[in-house]
Amino acid sequence: MMNYNHLIFELSKEGRIGYSLPESTFNQTSIDDLDQKYLRQEAPDLPEVYELDVLRHFTNISHKNFGIETGFYPLGSCTMKYNPKINEEIASLKGFKNLHPLQASSTTQGAHHVYYELQKILSEISGLAEFTLNSYAGAHGELTGLMIIKKYHESRNDFHKNKIIIPDSAHGTNPASVVVCGMDVIEIKSNKQGRVDVKALEEAIEDRDDIAGMMLTNPNTLGIFENDICEITKLIHKAGGLMYYDGANLNALLGKVRPGDMGFDVMHINLHKTFSTPHGGGGPGSGPVGVSKALVDFLPNPRIKKLDDDFYVEHSGDAIGQISSYYGNFLISLRAYTYLLTLGKEHIKHIGPLATLNANYVKEKLKKYYDLPIDGPCMHEVVFNGLLNKETEVKTLDIAKRLLDYGMHAPTIYFPLLFPQAIMIEPPETESLQTIDEFIDVMIEIANEAQDHPERLKEAPKNTPIRRTDEVFAAKAMIFSYKDYKAYQKEGE
C-alpha cells in the first residue's frame, strides 16, 4: 500500500464514469444551443474513472499521510491537540450543513445562535467585548485586526499613525499582514531572555507620534511569558497605539490569563489550534477577531446581533467593510462551539495549566541532552537549540527526520529565527504521560545515536513512504500540474 504510486490521471480510461446523475426531463433545450462563441473549444482534461477507482486511489494516498490519530504531533506553535469526533458528528447535521447563507434570517436562527453564542464565549475567555467569526484563518484574522486598528486611528483623524511594532521573534504572518494592511513594521530586538527588551521598545517609540500599535504573542514564540507585559501595554497606549494579541499561543493561558486583562485591545484566535478543530492538512482554519469595547463598531460586516430572543444580521457603515463572502468558516465555528460546550467552565480552565505542565516536564527531561538556550519555566512549549553536544555534524533537520522513523511527527524546526538550530516542542494537554514519556525516550535515543551512529540521522528517514526530497529540483523544474508533468516526461524521452 505504501508503494502505491499512481496519479488519478494515470488511472483514466475513456468512457468510464464515477457519477450518478438523473436523466434529463426537459427535452426541448440543451447547453449546445448556446452560441459557439461562449463555449470552450476543448473539453477539460479531467480523469475518467469508476467510483471504486476513486475510493481506492484516495484511500491509498491517505496511507502516506500522518494524522493526529496516527501518532504524537509535538509541533510547536501549532497546538496539534486531539480533534474530537463529536465535533464532526455535530458539523454534519443536515440542519447546519444544508443552509444557504442568504436564506431569510427566520430560517437560520439556529446558525445565528451558534455564531452569537460562540463569539460570546470567546469574548469572555479573552476578556474582550465582542468577536467576529468572519475571518477565515489566523493570518486573515491578523489582517482584519490591523484594519480595525487603522480604522480606529482614522476615525480620530490620526491618519499619520501607520507604524506597527513587532518583536523579532514574531510569526512571519505578523509583518506580512502589516504590509498588506498598508502600514509599516518597526522590528524590536529581543533581550537575552528572549523577551521584548522594554528599554529598546521605549527608545524605539520615543518622540514618535506615528505608532499605530504593537503585535505581540504571549507567551512568545519561545514559549516564554512576557513578564513585562503591563509595562509594554502601558508604553504603547501612552504613545497612542493599540495592542494586538496574536492568539497563536493562547492555549497556554486558558484558565489562567485573559488577553484583555493584560491590556490588549484586539486579538485573533486560531480555532484550529486552541479550540480543537481539525487542521485539514493546511486549512480550513478559522481566525475569529475580538476587540475591546471602544472598537466594536469597526468589526467587519455582516454582524449577528440579538434582540430579545431573536437573532438578526446587521451591516454597519462604521465597519472596516467586508472581508469575506458571509460568516467565515461557519462549520469550523460550529465544531469549536461543540468543543467549548464539551469542556464547559468546569474543564476549560485546566487546559493551560496541563499544557504548561507537559512542556515543562519535557524541558526538564531533555535539557541534559539538548541545548536549552533559555532556562527557567516555560509555558505550553519549549525551544531547544539543537543538541547539547555541538561536536557532532548532526543538525536539527536530521533530528526531525529521524523522529519520523520512530513514528512521531517532527517538532517545528528552525523557528523562531533567534536560534540557528531551533527545535520547538509543544506537547498539548490531550497527550497522556505515557505518550510524552515515549517521546522523551525517543528524543534521548536520537541524541545518543547522534553521538554513536550519526549516519542513522543523516540517512533518516528510512521507514517513511518516501525519503528526503530534492527541493531544489522542484523549484527549478516548476512542474505544478499533470500537464507540466507530461511535458517533462516527453522531454526526457
Binding site: 447547453i31 461562449y38 494516498i61 485539514g280 464547559g344 467552565k345 519520523l404
Partner: protein, 430 residues
Amino acid sequence: MLESINIDTIDQLYRDLPKSVLYNSDYDIPSFMSETELRDYFTQLSENNQPLTLFSGLGVYDHYQPAVIDAITSRQEFMTSYTPYQPEISQGTLQYIFEYQSMIQTLTGMDVSNASMYDGTTSTAEACLMATAIRKRDKILISRTLHPNTIKVIETYLKFKGLKWDYIEAKEGITDIEDMKNKLDQDVAGVVVQNPNFFGLIESYDGFQEAIKENKSLFIVNADISTLGVLKSPYELGADIACGECQSLGMPLAFGGPYLGYLATNKKYVRKMPGRICGYTHDQDGKRSFVLTLQAREQHIRRDKANSNICSNQSLMALFVTVYLSLMGKKGLKKVNDLSYQGAHYLYDKLIKTGKFKDPFKQPFLKEFVLETSLSKDLIQEALLSNKIFGAYDLSQFGESYENLVNFAVTEKRTKKEIDRLIDVLEGLS
C-alpha cells in the same frame, strides 16, 4: 511529573507572572455537557434552521454531492494532518494538492494554479493585489457586473492597502467595453470581471483582452469554476489571472463556509502569486514525490517583503474539489451544466409566460438569471417560505441599484416537479 520539575503544584509554573494579570475565577460560560446532552442540544438547535428547496444561488449553489466525497474527506489521515511541511509523511496531502492544481489548470486553461485560497471573494481581492504588484501600478477597474460581495471585499483590501479603484458600468446587464476603454489609463494595473456575471449572464468579453493588453494592464477573470466544464475558459477569454469560488464542486452550502477560492495565472507571474504551491520532484531514492515549493514568495520566509500574508488556507476543501472532479470527469461536469441549463431555461420560459415577470436583459445565461417583477417582494417571500422554497431572491438587498430584480438559479438537483411547484406558487400571486 511535578517532582521532575521540582514544583509542588501546577500553579507554581505561573509564579513569575505579574499577579495583576492572573485570572482567578471561573469563566462566565456554560457548564459542560455529556455527549448525549450535546447531541440533544445541537439537534434541537439545528431544527431551528430550516433547509429549503433552493431556487436562488448568487455564488452558492445547490449542486449534487457524491457520497464518496464525505467518505474520503473525513479520513483522519487527511482531516487531522498538519500543513505538509514534512513531505516524507505528507505525500497524501501533497499528491491531492498536485492533482487539485492540475484540475484547476485544465479547467481554467491557465499555466499554474496555487494550492487554494480562502474563498472566491478573497481570491479575487488577492488577484487584484497581485496585479498591482506585477504592474507596479495602483488602480483596479472593477466591473459592476461582479457579485456585490466580491466588490465589497476587493474594496476593503484595496482601501487598506492604499490603492485606488474605479467601476466599469454595465449596459443591459453586460460590462460596457466602451466605458472600460475610457477608463483605462496609465494607473490601471488590472481589470476584473466575472463570468457568468452577477446576473447569471454569460459575457463574451470580445475585445477586452486586446484593449487591456494595449494599456499594459492585466485581465483578471472571476469565473464560476463549475461552468468551465462547458464555457470558455479564462485563458480563452485572454485572462492573465483567473480566480473565483469552488463551492459548486462538491461542497455543502454550510451557511457560507468553509468553501475554497481558486487562483491561477501564467507561469511568468508565478513568483508574484500568493498562497502555497505544490510541485513535482523525487526523493533521494529517485521515487516520484511532491513538495511545497517556491516558498521564498511566502510570509514565513519573506516576512514584510511578502506579497501576501496568507498562511493556512483551505487544503481539505481542495480535496473536496479533487474527489468531486475525479468522479465527474469531463462528461459528468458537462452533464451537470447541461441539466442545470435545461432546468433553468424551462423555469425561465414558464415564468415569462405567467406575465408577472419580464427579462430586463435578454442575454444568454446558463443556470442562473434575473427577472424584473412588479409583484411585492414581501408577498413573494411569504408565499415561497410557506412552501419551504428559497428563491426569487430580492437583489435590492445588495443595493438600491438592483431594485425590482429577483434572482433564480436551477441546478441538476431540481426536479421538474419542484420547478412546477415553484411556478404554481408564483403564478398564484397578484
